[in-house]
């Protein structure tokens, strides 16, 4: 099923959606080699039942994990353009066209608004399957509009990063998305709306060096690779092997760059906890009520 067909429906109903399962009945864990069925894996939110390795998942799965059922997709109408007529081994336009044919998403980031245990939240989630989750003009613009939307609707913002970095085929336009997203985030801060940055495997390059590191809260999934330069580049630079666990979420929390690491199974509850921390209410009971101001 192609993305524009589902996009037409506008509002999504959660969970029941399509299988999207990779071929074959069995999934072999890339970390511990444990075999599990896709059904088991799906029920386990794509974490290995044996070793808890967090398998990379796409934006829609995150929306389904986080939101209470229904949510509204936003800004799907914004799609990439071959601004520079960029050609490497393939033209950028051909790459885009090839991806549109098989992809579930319209670019490397999707935006949705919904409720987390009745508390409103705007969520941007990246898709690694779309040109390595690379940040081009569309990623920058969608984040920019998600920030405007959060301000207009007075909701906190969550960005789930999963990216190899900049989209080279958009050259300097992609570089400037770092400045654009960071500058726009200052407006969210001015409106005193919390920004939670969740880094998942992998989060590197220009994405890390802009919005991903700018959360009021920086959190990450276990084992996620997070860094500025990629491990290969660092290895070539320093000409020796990298220490075990270098640039993992566990490494970053020790170095002081993360607030906490969150297991995917606990993500929704953790978000709920955080959202209540930034809300002042009269009684504890109110925490579980639908806020009157929500649109």
């Amino acid at each position: 099923m192609s993305w524009f067909k589902r996009l037409k429906d506008g509002i999504q109903t959660a969970t029941k959606s399509k299988k999207e399962a990779p071929d074959g009945l069995w999934h072999k864990c890339e970390k511990c080699s444990e075999l599990s069925t896709h059904k088991e894996l799906d029920e386990n939110l794509y974490c290995c039942p044996k070793c808890d390795h967090h398998v990379r998942i796409g934006s829609e799965k995150y929306f389904n994990i986080i939101f209470d059922g229904k949510y509204t997709r936003l800004f799907d109408e914004i799609v990439s353009k071959d601004i520079l007529n960029f050609v490497d081994l393939k033209s950028y336009q051909d790459r885009l066209d090839a991806i549109y044919l098989k992809s579930d998403v319209s670019d490397a980031i999707s935006v949705a608004s919904g409720k987390v245990n009745k508390k409103p939240l705007t969520v941007c989630a990246m898709d690694f399957t779309f040109i390595g989750g690379s940040m081009g003009s569309v990623v920058g613009e969608k984040i920019s509009r998600a920030i405007d939307y959060s301000i207009e609707n007075k909701t906190p913002l969550l960005i789930i990063s999963k990216s190899g970095g900049a989209r080279m085929m958009e050259s300097a336009f992609s570089l400037m998305q770092m400045a654009k997203t960071s500058a726009k985030l200052t407006l969210l801060a001015k409106h005193k709306l919390p920004f939670i940055s969740l880094m998942t495997d992998p989060t590197t390059g220009g994405v890390t060096a802009s919005f991903a590191m700018l959360g009021d809260l920086n959190i990450a999934e276990p084992g996620a690779l997070i860094g500025f330069a990629g491990p290969r580049v660092i290895k070539e630079t320093i000409k020796r092997d990298l220490p075990e666990g270098f640039q993992t979420a566990e490494f970053l929390i020790e170095k002081g760059f993360l607030d906490f690491i969150v297991n995917r199974k606990d993500l929704k509850q953790k978000l709920d906890d955080l959202l209540t921390m930034f809300t002042n209410v009269e009684s504890e009971a109110e925490l579980n009520e639908e806020p009157a101001s929500a649109s």
Binding site: I78, G140, E141
Partner: protein, 328 residues
């Protein structure tokens, strides 16, 4: 004099000139006409070569070993430069220099990437590749400038932020991200000049400002042509092709609306007449600062954020259409 490969015709002419001068020094033959002729030829050849540079040739020029660096410009443009060191957390990064200086009667906070002028100094400056403490020093200086209402001038010239092990440990990404966030809201004017290489996040880390300018023979984009070649072409051999594809020259950047203006260089590049280059940079900084200082801080910040918000190009499709509408 150092000649780049595309300057070969010039090198040959200079060799001829030297030979003729030698003959002239013998005092037997009058060679003054011949010298004049050759000098004219050199001038024309230089003009011809430089009127039609490719992207890759500009990349080479931006890395010319005789090209003036940040400290040269600071020395030429400002007085009473007082270098300020350290990020107050970890170390003093030698790849980014900065400090207070006077431009006429106006105090400015000037900073920039610094490359070394010889083998030893290149090591010392880490080839202009900053570590996190470099970006944090820059931010410390900017915040101080803000407190005392002093405008900020950034000179950018880096092959990239340093991709080292310790740089990662100390949060290279966080340091750059923090600068972008803080520079967006800085209450004083920020002027940015690409004076050499403008490579990726390492350049942008001190490159978000009210106005961004590029010297004529510089480049600015998200990745070096070499790295781009190795990733997209899976070989190091396509740097020239990558340089063209990336459209990384000042002309392209201006056309894209990603910079505000191009600063002309002397024919043959900034290194052929560094003093002249510094002089025109000086008058440019003066003029731009004056314009920016006439604005209210809040208006300046709003305009700055607006400017970056507009950067990017994409399509907006009708979701009821079957396919994304494409302009061809």
């Amino acid at each position: 004099m150092v000649f780049l490969e595309f300057e070969k015709p010039l090198e040959l002419l200079y060799e001829q000139l030297d030979k003729i001068k030698e003959v002239g020094d013998g005092g037997v033959i009058d060679v003054s006409d011949k010298i004049k002729e050759l000098e004219k030829k050199i001038q024309n050849t230089r003009k011809e070569i430089y009127s039609n540079l490719t992207g890759w040739q500009k990349v080479q020029l931006s890395r010319h070993p005789e090209r003036p660096y940040t400290l040269f410009y600071i020395d030429q443009i400002f007085t009473r430069f007082t270098e300020l060191h350290g990020d107050r957390c970890f170390a003093d990064d030698k790849a980014i220099v900065g400090g207070l200086a006077k431009l006429g009667s106006q105090t400015v906070m000037v900073m920039g990437h610094q490359k070394g002028i010889n083998t030893k100094m290149r090591q010392y400056r880490n080839f202009g590749m900053a570590n996190p403490e470099g970006y944090r020093k820059a931010l410390r200086l900017m915040k101080m400038a803000e407190r005392f209402n002093i405008p900020v001038v950034c000179l950018i010239d880096t092959p990239g932020a340093y991709p080292g092990l310790e740089a990662e440990e100390r949060g290279q990404a966080e340091a750059i991200a923090r600068n972008l966030f803080e520079m967006a809201q800085l209450k004083v004017p920020i002027l940015c000049y690409i004076i050499g290489e403008g490579a990726s996040g390492g350049a942008l880390g001190i490159g978000l400002g009210d106005r961004v300018f590029m010297l004529e023979n510089t480049w600015y984009t998200v990745i070096s042509p070499e790295s781009c070649s190795s990733i997209l072409w899976r070989s190091w051999d396509y740097k020239e092709t990558a340089a063209e594809a990336l459209k990384l020259t000042a002309e392209h950047m201006l056309e894209f609306g990603l910079i505000d203006e191009i600063i002309k260089e002397p024919v043959g590049g900034a290194h052929t007449d560094p003093e002249k280059m510094a002089k025109s940079l000086k008058s440019h900084i003066k003029k731009e600062l004056q314009t920016l200082q006439e604005m209210q801080p809040d208006d300046r910040i709003t305009a700055r954020i607006e400017k970056y918000s507009k950067m990017g190009d994409f399509e907006e499709v009708d979701l009821n259409e079957k396919k994304p509408a494409k302009k061809k």
